[in-house]
């Protein structure tokens, strides 16, 4: 009996020690992550200004209002387009580029140059990238327009950021330009972890480069594909800075995304409750995607 109680005491002490070790991190998470997230959900049920002390409880009115807001539909659609293009580009294109560079079809020097050139945009600040591309896309005086004129493609010339049809796509393009090289570098690391002799065995079996890609590279890096896909989707959902710098959601809210909508509601229109509602929607979409990721990873 004594033995048993000693054992229980020791286990309890061990358990307490464990909790003490994780306590600082846990406290940090509660104060700075879970706390604000829950508070934000609470805020979404009120209507109030940042400067006012009067909080009106409105229940789900903010959600109803958001649901009926055409800007929300536009923003959600833009986020979805952003995600689809980003996944296609940053997973599809980046993986293909990584596979080609790792297959050593190019001489080492040109492969290194290509790799560096592709990676470089990702180390630039988003604001700088946004401003540079804004200049490049400026109608008439911008380099892109001038290039189109010089090459006889003047009919293609347009105000890329100034027209509702092209604004969001121009922003998405810049985002892909900036991040594809970074994701490519992640895939290159993953591909390097695939044993070399699997490719050699395939070569002896007579497989072509494309067959090697589908049968060895893709299954070999599928964990990275899954993670990159999730990160890209979540990133697309949270996107704010590049859109804000390049178009600020315009023209006429055509390039609005959830991030810009939320920012405008909070800091331009001073509708903290409504802004919290948008934040809550983003939170739950992100949570769903995160849970899907955990489920998919567990299934493997």
């Amino acid at each position: 009996m004594t033995d048993r109680s000693d054992h229980t005491r020791a286990t309890w002490r061990q358990s307490l020690q464990g909790w003490l070790w994780v306590a600082p991190a846990l406290l940090f998470l509660v104060v700075f992550v879970y706390g604000p997230a829950l508070t934000n959900i609470r805020f979404s049920l009120f209507s109030f200004s940042a400067m006012s002390l009067d909080w009106d409880f409105v229940g789900f009115d903010n959600y109803l209002r958001l649901w009926n807001d055409p800007k929300f539909t536009t923003a959600l659609t833009n986020n979805a387009i952003y995600a689809v293009i980003s996944v296609a580009c940053q997973v599809g294109v980046a993986l293909t580029l990584a596979a080609v560079l790792e297959a050593r079809v190019f001489p080492d020097l040109s492969a290194n140059l290509f790799r560096t050139a592709l990676f470089l945009p990702s180390i630039l600040p988003v604001v700088v990238v946004g401003l540079v591309w804004q200049l490049l896309m400026t109608p008439t005086t911008g380099l892109i327009d001038q290039l189109l004129w010089e090459t006889g493609l003047s009919s293609w010339s347009k105000a890329w950021l100034g027209e509702p049809d092209t604004a969001i796509f121009a922003v998405i393009f810049v985002s892909q330009w900036q991040w594809t090289g970074y994701i490519m570098a992640l895939f290159m690391v993953a591909i390097r972890a695939v044993p070399r002799d699997l490719y050699e065995a395939m070569e002896i079996d007579g497989a072509s480069g494309i067959q090697q890609f589908w049968h060895i590279t893709v299954p070999g890096v599928r964990e990275t594909i899954l993670i990159v896909t999730i990160i890209t989707i979540l990133g697309s959902l949270k996107v704010f800075d590049i859109v804000w710098v390049m178009t600020a959601g315009g023209p006429n809210h055509s390039s609005e995304v959830l991030g810009t909508l939320m920012y405008r509601a909070a800091f331009r229109d001073d509708m903290i409750g409504y802004s919290s509602t948008i934040a809550t929607v983003i939170f739950f979409i992100a949570l769903t995607i995160g849970l899907m990721q955990i489920k998919l990873q567990k299934d493997r």
């Binding site: 044993p195 002799d197 699997l198 050699e200 065995a201 395939m202 070569e203 002896i204 079996d205 007579g206 497989a207 067959q211 049968h215 060895i216 299954p219 070999g220």
Partner: protein, 354 residues
């Protein structure tokens, strides 16, 4: 089945030459084992045969056809890798059938070939499993099965047993020998393990520093090593190589003395009396009896035999293999004499057999 000629093949990496001009003739159905220490160029040579490394100089011929610039898949070879290199996301059946699928072999023919290989290697119950669900030995068998279904002219093995534990290695060695008899295939096998070389090969090629040291049948190499390197490399425990002095010569025989170990050795090239030579004598060819005294420093009792590790009077290390059990803990002394006609003599300068 095919014959293969390796003519003055070399491999250059920048200024470093990994393989420095190697000639080997491999007959049809021959099991050739290329053996040598790490870094001797044996795997590079095999990879050049496979087409996974380009050939810097020389020629590779299979059935008389130059293969230097032919792609690996078209050389008629199949390779078993040290790591097995099984496709991790494919089942055993898909692994074995992949090359046939790539070659667009009709499905029923492919199924027949896979079934035959599975039968030879007793893989039947494992066909739907993934490589991660197999033991080391089973993976090895699948890798061999993958090679068999391609019906290659030449099988290439790159240290295929080195990832297995000792007992499984022995079992797989026996199975490989059986497989060679059954398939009657030409096989080139690379290993650093001289026991694998001795037990499997029809012909052994001993490599060092990118050059061939000796080519011959296993027992021929064991009995007549061409130099001190081969003498020390082939045989376990390794041959004792002792500094000795020639004390007398007589037609075709030299009498040498290595710290009291006196030996008459038949030689092709008679050394001068007083010359410094290397006396090679295997541990199993030394027997207890009046002769040189050995101070035993350590011993290993294996039940049926005992290995005694000690030093001769002048401090040279020597290993002796004795029948039965001997306990040297109490009495560290032993006197040994060589079995007549079993010793080898090498030049003290060049290390070449005399």
């Amino acid at each position: 089945m095919a014959y293969m000629q390796i003519k003055a093949i070399a491999k250059q990496y920048g200024t470093y030459e990994a393989v420095r001009g190697i000639d080997i003739d491999i007959a049809e159905r021959e099991f050739v084992v290329i053996v040598g220490p790490s870094g001797c160029g044996k795997s590079t040579l095999l990879r050049m045969i496979a087409g996974l490394e380009s050939i810097s100089r020389g020629e590779l011929l299979i059935d008389g056809q130059r293969m230097n610039d032919v792609r690996p898949a078209d050389r008629g070879i199949a390779m078993v890798f040290q790591s097995y290199a099984l496709y991790p996301h494919k089942t055993v059946e898909q692994n074995m059938g992949f090359a046939l699928k790539v070659a667009k072999t009709p499905k029923d023919e492919a199924a027949r070939k896979i079934a035959r290989a599975a039968e030879i290697l007793q893989l039947g119950p494992l066909m739907k499993r993934l490589p991660k669900e197999l033991s080391g030995g089973q993976r090895q068998r699948v890798a061999i099965g993958r090679a068999i279904v391609r019906n290659p002219k030449v099988f290439l093995f790159d240290e295929p047993l080195s990832n297995l534990d000792a007992s499984l290695r022995l079992q797989m060695r026996i199975e490989l020998a059986q497989l060679h008899r059954e398939l009657q295939a030409t096989m080139v096998y690379v290993t650093h393990d001289q026991i694998e070389a001795m037990t499997l090969a029809d012909k052994i090629v001993v490599l060092r520093d990118g050059l061939v040291e000796q080519i011959g049948a296993p027992l021929e190499i064991y009995r007549h090593p061409a130099n001190t390197f081969v003498a020390g490399f082939i045989g376990s425990p390794k041959m004792n190589l002792l500094k000795a002095r020639v004390t007398a010569t007589e037609s075709g025989t030299a009498r040498v003395d290595a710290a009291g170990l006196v030996c008459d050795v038949a030689v092709d090239h008679l050394p001068a009396v007083g010359a410094e030579v290397t006396l090679g004598i295997r541990p199993e060819h030394l027997v207890a009896g009046p002769g040189a005294s050995v101070e035993v420093q350590a011993s290993e009792r294996l039940g049926g035999m005992t290995y005694a590790y000690g030093r001769l009077a002048d401090g040279q290390p020597v290993t002796v293999q004795l029948d039965g059990e001997h306990d040297f803990a109490a009495d560290g002394g032993l006197t040994v004499q060589p079995q007549p006609g079993r010793a080898h003599l090498f030049s003290g300068d060049s290390g070449l057999r005399l």
